[in-house]
């Protein structure tokens, strides 16, 4: 059963890489998020009627009525759980495509080493292309364009970068150049940007602090994503080599 093997492998790979990223995030990234939230101002549009208990410092909620994990162990637990879930989702893509590669492509079969190279490609697809060249990683409280537009652009950018890298790798030499062109399309369109850049908080001290936090956040997400994707790719390569066999 290919499906069962892919699913089980992805769960194991996702748990390992998501857990590692969750720990990295807990020590290196979450402190930056918490620090930025201290400068968050009440969003007047989202919560027209502010209730008495709205001033909980450091706690982030869009809607006063909606459930959210309590700060501390509960919030950390949900964050690591979400990291693992995202790890499993990425591992499902990775292992499925690797299995297809082994079945169909006239290229070397995957190992842990080539898997790590796939991990680097995935980091370009899911992090570098959409985030470093488009929608930069943001701390809470940063002004940004409409969420749906950014999510749409993010999905388009990921899909076209993935297609571009696939063309570059698999297509015959004459057609390889169309790969980078595909990947460049979302950047020529341009990522959706807010009308004015900056932060919701207009206090000069807060802006200074948030700018510094943004730089740190950018650096640590990039390092963390690098570790996460290389591990995810290497483990996926190993899983495909050992456990996932498609019948030709």
């Amino acid at each position: 059963m290919a499906f069962r093997n892919i699913l089980l492998s992805a769960i194991v790979v996702g748990i390992f890489s998501g857990l590692l990223y969750g720990l990295f995030q807990h020590f290196q990234i979450s402190p930056i998020i918490y620090a930025a939230e201290a400068y968050e101002v009440e969003d007047i549009v989202a919560t027209p009627a502010a209730h008495g208990h709205s001033g909980t410092a450091g706690h982030h909620e869009h809607n006063e009525e909606a459930w959210g994990p309590k700060d501390g162990a509960e919030r950390i637990g949900y964050t690591i759980g979400a990291d693992i879930a995202i790890g499993i989702a990425y591992a499902l893509f990775m292992i499925s495509l690797m299995a297809l590669h082994n079945l169909k492509a006239n290229k070397p079969k995957l190992t842990m080493m080539t898997g790590a190279a796939w991990g680097i490609a995935s980091m370009i697809i899911f992090f570098a292309a959409p985030a470093m060249f488009g929608l930069h990683p943001e701390v809470p409280g940063t002004e940004a364009a409409t969420l749906e537009n950014r999510q749409g652009w993010w999905s388009l950018c990921v899909a076209l970068t993935a297609a571009g890298i696939a063309v570059l790798y698999y297509a015959p030499v004459k057609l390889k150049l169309s790969g980078p062109i595909l990947a460049a399309i979302p950047h020529m369109m341009g990522a959706p940007m807010p009308e004015h850049h900056g932060f919701a908080n207009t206090d000069p001290q807060a802006i200074e602090a948030l700018s510094q936090l943004t730089t740190q956040f950018y650096l640590f997400t990039a390092v963390g994503m690098g570790i996460f994707f290389v591990l995810l790719g290497a483990l996926s390569g190993l899983a495909v080599q050992r456990f996932v066999k498609l019948n030709a």
Binding site: F3, I33, W67, Y78, F127, P140, W154
Partner: protein, 60 residues
């Protein structure tokens, strides 16, 4: 003879389902990624908030 016919049929139906199974696995991955990383409901957003930021998904 009949035995062989059955086994050929089995392996050809496995070929079809291999591609289908890979597509199913990727569909599960896409659904999971959407719920954790992109679903607009407040509950999904609040639970995965810090993870969404750390994976540089569009948030808020």
């Amino acid at each position: 003879m009949q035995q062989q016919a059955i086994s050929t049929e089995q392996s050809s139906s496995l070929t079809l389902s291999a591609a289908l199974q890979v597509i199913s696995a990727m569909a599960v991955g896409a659904a999971l990624l959407f719920v954790v990383g992109f679903a607009p409901m407040d509950v999904a957003h609040n639970a995965a908030h810090d993870a969404r930021h750390s994976f540089a998904f569009p948030c808020h």
